[in-house]
């Protein structure tokens, strides 16, 4: 019914968001300022594990401009516990984090007190005067490092163990021609969004209502959690989402400050703002990755994979936070990847240490699992004398085998199947893009002092988590459209994408559409943005609402023009009848409310898939790696805005390369975080990885949603360690170096090369 010539879905339209960001008129958390606003700073534990004997805040309270110092004592006997949002397994509950430390601190950075002052600077001045008497306890910084349980009720430091799988792995391994077992690990790092977290909490004493601005990701869930903790009704709290300077999984989960700042605002009956500084960000926001794996592959001598066994060990940090065991569970689930492996067993061990708690970071578990598996595949192929590309081609699931069930790898999740795709075609495309056949002869070659290597990494990636999302569309009196959605913005261009979907359905130009998102004031219920779900779920909800609104508009127009629906067309924000009569949306809206709600429910996950390929050089004398070429090929089903999807892919590749070469949260054996500054926590800069390509394909739309979209935010990162580490390993294969552990920093590669040389010398 709408004008097909001008469809925006599928087109790389410029973003609606950009004008405000480019002109400096965005509205981020630290930009908030209201009358009477106070500023908070958090006193964080300087030691990893200790009993708190006494806290003396008297000097702080005596300082000028200090309004309050809040400790556990002020909160009461029952310190609220941050609930598990995902996978709420009972095993994890005793390990959940209290919103403030009362008798014990368990990691460097754990909140002990909140200072509220007339300015942030005064609050920081006061932090330095708070005296705390600690009774030091020994820190646990690695698996099995201590027999002493960190939690009194526990027998050991393992919070959760489970086994899962399908087929008969024991039989498969017993009958295999070839078996190899290796241990791998991915280092602890984090997402590092450019904007740190921040909140403004305003308490209205008269109304008994709380407004918290600066929320994101899962606002409705967080409102429920906060209401319980503050003993308020849900309706007494609004969580408002404004511009968000990057999320990547870490931002927007419920953190201690999401209670402490509203609590302070209510206690003082004053607006209180808290902006996390970068130093505290590095010790307070969720860390991630930090997974080790013992992985075994059983193959026939011709390279057919018969079975896989994986034991996943995850350092969860000091508490189990909202994401529960998602990181290790997904690391285990995605071990088989896009391959036909009939017999699989996985086990997960989630253990506690004295470090910052972990949570999800873009491609949680997948980045790790793909690295583990793709490395072992290269080792196996090498052992069996099979070309690594041929080995993969032989084992990739074919289109005829789809949908391909991979049930039973996550005990708390129902059955799931890889949905649609042509894994082999996308794999071949990646080979073509990187020039595999032309460049294969470079593997391990030393040219001008640099060793060349080309590596591959294949993946499947789930997205579109249910259960549902809601949207509400309103045609305003001026004929413009307001879209309200429960999905959250994390800086990914969601306004534009949802605007495109609404625009096409209703034939309203993009510049007449306003997209509101995330805030609990917009809808009765929303589900937020995680697991690459915003377009799949939110987009489908907007499509549903737009379709319903279009019907209502047509009905109104039919009455107005006196023509039947069948004779009406919607063209450029007007309804035109076959007889030439027309009425504008504005006229229709002026005649009465035109509004429609939409919803999309779905428990079927989408599975995007693809292959990454990297060509690197390694300077064997310094350990320096240069990425000469990198290509990521992914089938996302449907790209609503190809430029945005491409941007997601390129940005994710670079974040992934940071995870391979740079990002590393380094602890000493006392549990001290040694690099809580951006001078020492290194992330990629513009000069590090200049040559990258992303190829987005739309070969097989998702059958699970009307848009055909599969999540597109994470496929760019999930195979980066796999492809890059394989490339580095290929470059160093002549030196008998194997890559098993990230990050691949120059000193660590140098050490591997040196040790391999010494082994060779000793053997000779």
């Amino acid at each position: 019914m709408s004008d097909a010539a001008k469809l925006l879905v599928g087109s790389a339209v410029e973003r609606m968001e950009d004008a405000r960001f480019l002109s400096g008129s965005g509205n981020f958390a630290d930009d908030l300022a209201v009358e009477g606003m106070l500023h908070a700073a958090i006193l964080r534990s300087p030691i990893a594990h200790a009993r708190i004997v006494a806290i003396d805040v008297s000097a702080a309270l005596a300082m000028p401009g200090i309004r309050s110092v809040i400790t556990a004592r002020d909160i009461g006997d029952a310190i609220p516990i941050i609930p598990l949002r995902l996978a709420p397994l009972p095993e994890f509950e005793p390990f959940c984090q209290p919103v403030i430390a009362s008798d014990k601190v368990r990691y460097v950075g754990e909140p002990i007190a909140v200072v509220v002052a007339e300015s942030r600077a005064l609050a920081e001045d006061a932090l330095e005067t708070i005296g705390i008497e600690f009774e030091s306890l020994s820190a646990v910084t690695e698996r099995g490092a201590s027999e002493t349980p960190l939690f009194d009720f526990a027998e050991d430091n393992v919070a959760l163990r489970y086994d899962a799988g399908f087929g008969d792995p024991d039989a498969a391994f017993a009958s295999a021609d070839y078996v190899r077992t290796e241990r791998f690990s991915v280092q602890r790092h984090t997402a590092l969004p450019m904007e740190t977290r921040g909140l403004l909490a305003e308490w209205n004493s008269l109304a008994g209502r709380l407004v918290v601005t600066g929320a994101t990701k899962v606002t409705f869930y967080n409102r429920r959690a906060l209401a319980r903790m503050l003993d308020l009704g849900q309706d007494d709290i609004d969580l408002i989402e404004i511009d968000v300077g990057g999320g990547f999984g870490v931002r927007g989960e419920f953190y201690p400050e999401d209670f402490l700042i509203p609590f302070a605002a209510r206690k003082l009956a004053r607006p209180v703002k808290w902006i996390e500084d970068r130093r505290e960000h590095l010790m307070a926001i969720n860390h991630s990755r930090d997974v080790a794996c013992e992985l075994s592959l059983a193959c026939r001598s011709d390279g057919m994979i018969l079975g896989l066994r994986g034991r996943v060990f995850a350092d969860m940090g000091a508490y189990i936070r909202t994401n529960g065991g998602v990181v290790p569970a997904k690391a285990a689930q995605f071990l088989p990847g896009p391959y036909r492996i009939p017999n699989v067993s996985v086990s997960v061990e989630a253990f506690m240490t004295s470090k910052t708690p972990v949570g999800t970071y873009r491609g949680p578990g997948r980045f790790e699992a793909n690295f583990f598996r793709e490395r072992l595949i290269d080792m196996a192929a090498m052992d069996l004398g099979i070309d690594v590309a041929e080995f993969r081609r032989k084992n990739l699931i074919t289109e005829q085998e789809l949908p391909y069930p991979i049930d039973g790898l996550v005990p708390y999740e129902g059955p799931t199947s890889y949905d649609t795709g042509d894994y082999v075609e996308v794999f071949e495309r990646a080979l073509k893009e990187i020039g595999w056949h032309e460049k294969r002869h470079l593997q391990g070659k030393l040219i001008d002092g640099l060793r060349h290597g080309i590596g591959l990494g294949c993946f499947v990636e789930s997205g579109g988590a249910g259960p549902k999302e809601n949207a509400a569309l309103t045609l305003e009196k001026d004929g413009s459209l307001t879209v309200a959605v429960g999905s959250s913005v994390l800086g990914q261009g969601l306004e534009t994408v949802l605007g495109q979907i609404a625009s096409d359905t209703l034939s309203i130009p993009l510049d007449r559409i306003r997209v509101l998102h995330g805030s609990t004031t917009l809808l009765d219920e929303g589900f937020g943005t995680y697991h690459s779900r915003a377009v799949v779920m939110g987009g489908s909800a907007v499509l549903d609402a737009a379709t319903r609104l279009r019907e209502r508009i047509s009905e109104q127009a039919s009455n107005h023009l006196g023509r039947p629906n069948s004779e009406l067309r919607i063209v450029n924000a007007s309804v035109v009848a076959d007889n030439g009569a027309s009425v504008s949306f504005a006229t229709l809206a002026a005649g009465g409310e035109l509004q429609a709600d939409g919803t999309f429910s779905n428990d079927v996950r989408t599975y995007s898939y693809g292959t990454h390929a990297a060509h690197v050089t390694v300077d064997p004398r310094t350990g320096a790696v240069k990425v000469l070429d990198y290509v990521a090929v992914e089938d996302v089903g449907r790209a609503i805005n190809p430029a945005i999807v491409h941007g997601q892919a390129i940005g994710a590749i670079v974040q992934g390369l940071g995870g391979v070469f740079l990002d590393h949260l380094i602890y000493d054996d006392q549990g001290q975080l040694l690099n809580a500054s951006l001078a020492d926590y290194l992330v990629p800069t513009a000069s590090d990885f200049p040559v990258l390509r992303a190829v987005t394909l739309e070969l097989r739309p998702s059958p699970s949603n009307p848009l055909g979209a599969k999540g597109a935010g994470e496929g760019g990162i999930v195979a980066v360690a796999a492809a890059t580490a394989n490339a580095v390993a290929a470059a160093l294969a002549p030196l008998n170096v194997e890559i098993r552990h990230l990050p691949l920093t120059p000193p660590r590669l140098w050490r591997l090369i040196k040790d391999a040389r010494e082994r060779a010398t000793n053997a000779a």
């Binding site: 920081e124 690099n675 120059p746």
Partner: protein
């Protein structure tokens, strides 16, 4: 990360500045570009009660070249050095080294005096100053003293500067035209502090033998330093592949770096040898057979 409470004085003359420092004793700190000091204040690793801003003092902003040497006022910025087209000719080693300093925005504010006074063991300017025997002019209440760069730096982030003294200028000796030289450093990312770095130069006599070899290193000890043992390997020799490998071996033996979060000690030691090989090969314009 707000700065601790502090007062601020911006004197108009050097005498006033020194008087202000003297009044506040050890509680005052000199600020110029602030590119090293302000981060330390932000982390509250330093908390002076007063900052004495020397940014408005006259006569400290120029680069002048005379028969005595090349004089840099303490307030000369990295950007000033980058834009001074004379320096690529009159001191190519300095120009090459300074290209590695930090990033664009820092280079617009960071000063040579600030870098010397901060004395980071991996910083380029102190490395060049030590390598080239720069002479530093220090002014205090009792007058002026002039020290060689290696006497000025006394350890990691520490110098001989008294609380009431100001480093006003740095003089690099004139550069010989036919001098052989190279600068090599290796950092995790462009603009980061080096994991190790080498500044090297020597002159060639009529017989084609090296003399006056200066080999300075950064990032491998608590301060920049010359390696006299390595210089001795080079002086009086024709610089060929053998000599270069001997020099690199001597360099590895001469240093005793520490482990830190960025690299183990053995890496820095070996890296230094690799960088010295590459620097000397480039200086001598020869190609070394690359091992591995």
């Amino acid at each position: 990360m707000k700065l601790p409470p502090l007062d601020y004085i911006c004197p108009a003359t050097l005498t006033e500045a020194i008087a202000a420092l003297a009044v506040h004793g050890g509680n005052a700190k000199v600020i110029a570009g602030g590119q090293s000091l302000v981060p330390m204040l932000a982390f509250r690793l330093a908390a002076p009660s007063v900052l004495v801003d020397i940014g408005q003092l006259p006569d400290l902003k120029s680069i002048s070249i005379s028969a005595e040497g090349i004089d840099f006022g303490a307030l000369v910025t990295w950007r000033d050095i980058e834009c001074d087209t004379r320096l690529a000719q009159v001191h190519p080693l300095l120009a090459a080294a300074i290209a590695h300093v930090a990033h664009y925005q820092i280079r617009n504010r960071g000063t040579v005096g600030g870098s010397m006074a901060h004395a980071d063991p991996a910083a380029e300017m102190p490395g060049i100053a030590v390598t080239c025997d720069a002479m530093l002019t220090i002014v205090g209440p009792n007058g002026t003293r002039i020290l060689r760069a290696d006497e000025f730096i006394t350890g990691g982030l520490s110098t001989v500067l008294e609380a009431d003294e100001i480093l006003t200028s740095i003089r690099l000796p004139l550069w010989k035209k036919a001098r052989r030289w190279a600068f090599e450093e290796f950092a995790p990312r462009h603009g980061d502090f080096a994991l190790a770095g080498v500044a090297a130069f020597y002159d060639i006599d009529a017989q084609g033998l090296a003399y006056n070899a200066h080999i300075g290193v950064i990032g491998v000890a608590d301060r920049p330093m010359r390696l006299p043992g390595v210089e001795a390997v080079l002086d009086g020799r024709r610089i060929d592949a053998d000599v270069i490998l001997q020099a690199a071996a001597a360099a590895r033996d001469a240093v005793d770096p520490a482990d830190d979060i960025h690299a183990e000690a053995a890496y820095r030691r070996d890296l230094l040898g690799v960088l010295l090989e590459r620097a000397l090969a480039r200086a001598a314009d020869i190609t070394l057979p690359e091992a591995a």
